[in-house]
């Protein structure tokens, strides 16, 4: 069942690789791999089944992975969240006879009271149908609701503030908030005492958190400047080239600064590598295009970590994330050359195109005479020398080039062996590659 059925929730957009698109300033907080969302009281609302739940600073995003559709429940609409529990069936007989209800009673449920426009209150339950640390999730949820991050961002990014405003009406929220009495009051008290116990621990990390929040602010600033530059350059398209050039540089610089909400072990838990893999797939698309469809893994590692800022990943994590691409439908792939060099390339990347460029490079008069080195090729193709060498070796394998190893180094020449007539070695055709090479070689004597 796709998430489209639950049209009582605002839909959320999804990236090409199937990660939720976050709005400005929105940060991922935690993930649960498999949940259902069940309205508890109103049968008119369709439930959501088998979704990945992403908790962000702004929303609960229910992502139905097979159909790559998502629904977002704005945290602003959550009036109250009840701590997780396992449902005890109201009717003990029912649980005796119905196997399905007895199995569902094994699952943790987090009940949420939410306000729906115009002025309706509903109770829905997040049913956690997988093994996960529900208490940690709940803790994060409460933190996110308290932090009210959505109230800070609309001013910073009015353009992308829409998704937040969609379901939320803060004024109404307050109006229908229930008084703190009865069971929920006790629960809330419990919650607060639990939190004050955690306070001591958090104090210890305060300095670190302060640093992190500064880093986040920097990223937001970068994002804001980038947006501003983008709008400027589109309106003043006739400004002079030099200015455009510097703007482009600046944009590139800012673009490479930030992934605003990096996937971390902390937020994604068991889903870490899978989610990292998807985020990486989204991230490398643009740098790959600029690099001509292929990049060395080390280069990607550097770029990706620079973009992540404080949340660095290990090379092992990167490799794992890349190797998971085989299992999902993403437009990029990991490739290992015979020499062992690993690269990331787009699936549409064609070696033929690279071969054509190398061939034409090798046939220039200078290259005919002296051959080409990996660094020559790197310069012409605009890629790293290690990668250029792989391309040259590949072209050699194809029979386009052949090698010359001498004290001067390792160079490649256009392959003339097939052009030479073994029966008649002294005369040659008055045209073709061999002829071109001879005239260049003779001229240099």
């Amino acid at each position: 069942m796709s998430a489209a059925a639950a049209d009582w929730l605002p839909s959320a957009s999804v990236t090409a690789s199937g990660r939720p698109v976050l709005s400005a300033g929105e940060v991922e907080r935690n993930l649960l791999p498999l949940v259902d969302l069940e309205p508890e009281e109103n049968p008119c609302l369709a439930p959501l089944r088998g979704c990945l739940l992403a908790l962000t600073s702004h929303r609960l995003i229910f992502l139905h992975e097979p159909s790559r559709t998502a629904r977002g429940l704005p945290l602003a609409t959550v009036v109250h969240a009840y701590p997780p529990h396992r449902r005890h069936s109201h009717n003990p007989l029912r649980s005796l006879f119905s196997s399905s209800s007895s199995s569902s009673s094994q699952h943790h449920r987090i009940r949420l009271q939410i306000s729906m426009p115009p002025a309706r209150s509903e109770v829905v339950a997040i049913v956690v149908t997988c093994k996960a640390d529900v208490d940690v999730f709940f803790g994060r949820l409460i933190e996110a609701i308290r932090a009210r991050a959505w109230e800070m961002t609309p001013a910073a990014a009015p353009a992308s503030g829409a998704p937040v405003a969609e379901g939320a009406a803060p004024a109404e929220d307050i109006a229908i908030r229930m008084p703190v009495v009865g069971v929920s009051g006790i629960l809330r008290m419990e919650q607060e005492s639990w939190e004050s116990a955690g306070q001591n621990l958090q104090d210890a990390f305060q300095d670190l958190n302060a640093l992190m929040s500064k880093a986040k602010e920097m990223m937001q600033l970068a994002e804001k400047m980038r947006l501003k530059l983008l709008t400027n350059s589109s309106t003043e398209s006739n400004s002079n080239d030099e200015e455009m050039g510097s703007k482009q540089d600046m944009q590139d610089l800012l673009l490479s600064v930030g992934i605003v909400s990096p996937v971390t072990k902390e937020t994604a838990g068991a889903l870490y590598h899978q989610q990292l893999s998807l985020q990486l797939a989204d991230f490398v698309r643009i740098p790959l295009e600029k690099a001509g469809g292929m990049m060395a893994l080390v280069d990607v590692y550097c770029l990706f970590n620079r973009a992540r800022g404080t949340e660095l990943i290990s090379p092992e994590d990167l490799l794992q994330a890349c190797s998971l691409w085989e299992k999902v439908d993403v437009p990029v792939m990991l490739r290992k050359f015979d020499s062992g060099v690993k690269v990331i390339q787009t699936k549409t990347h064609s070696d033929e195109e690279v071969f054509a460029r190398i061939s034409s490079l090798a046939q220039k008069p200078d290259a005919l005479q002296k051959g080409i080195s990996p660094s020559d090729a790197a310069f012409t193709l605009g890629i790293a020398p290690a990668l250029a060498k792989e391309h040259l070796l590949n072209a050699e394998n194809k029979g386009l080039l052949c090698r010359d190893v001498s004290p001067d180094g390792f160079r490649f020449f256009v392959n003339l062996f097939n052009e030479i007539d073994a029966q008649n070695i002294y005369t040659q055709k008055p045209h073709g590659l061999y002829h071109a090479w001879i005239s260049v070689a003779m001229a240099s004597q």
Partner: protein, 177 residues
Amino acid sequence: MQRLGDFRLPPFFNYPPYFTLQPVRETREKQVQLWKDLILDYCRSQKIHTISLEEDFPLFSNPKIERSLSHEAKEVFLAALVSEGRAEWMDKGHKKCLILWLRIQDWANLILNFVKDNGLEVMTIEEIRSGIDTRGTELEGIDRGVLMRALRQLEQKGKAAIFKGTSADDEGVKFSV
């Protein structure tokens, strides 16, 4: 045109990759073919019968482009000749190689035609190798081992008889044309 003594070198002798053993199979096959032909042509024109891998061989380096064959490359090219019956290793260590720019069979025919054309019936071995009659022909300076094998082949066919003289270097052959 570049020359090595009075031998005319083909243009690709100045192509640097010609001197590097090519790792890709198809390219190497072509390279080996070109080397085999050139070695045979050169040896025939210079009447060279043996190539020693330990010593410098003019064909195996090109000072003009500062390239020369590695030991491995030399061995590969000569081994290719050996496998075609156009050369033989003279020792187990593959240090010396006998080049047969004519196969033994062809040498035998050449000798037979030579004695027929010149109406000769009896010759000593030394006469064939350095006598007046063979001067200026391909037989001049023929390797003694190669000559003896060609003559023995003729003997088996009943076209010649080798006889011993008074001393070891005084062997002769009687042809029955």
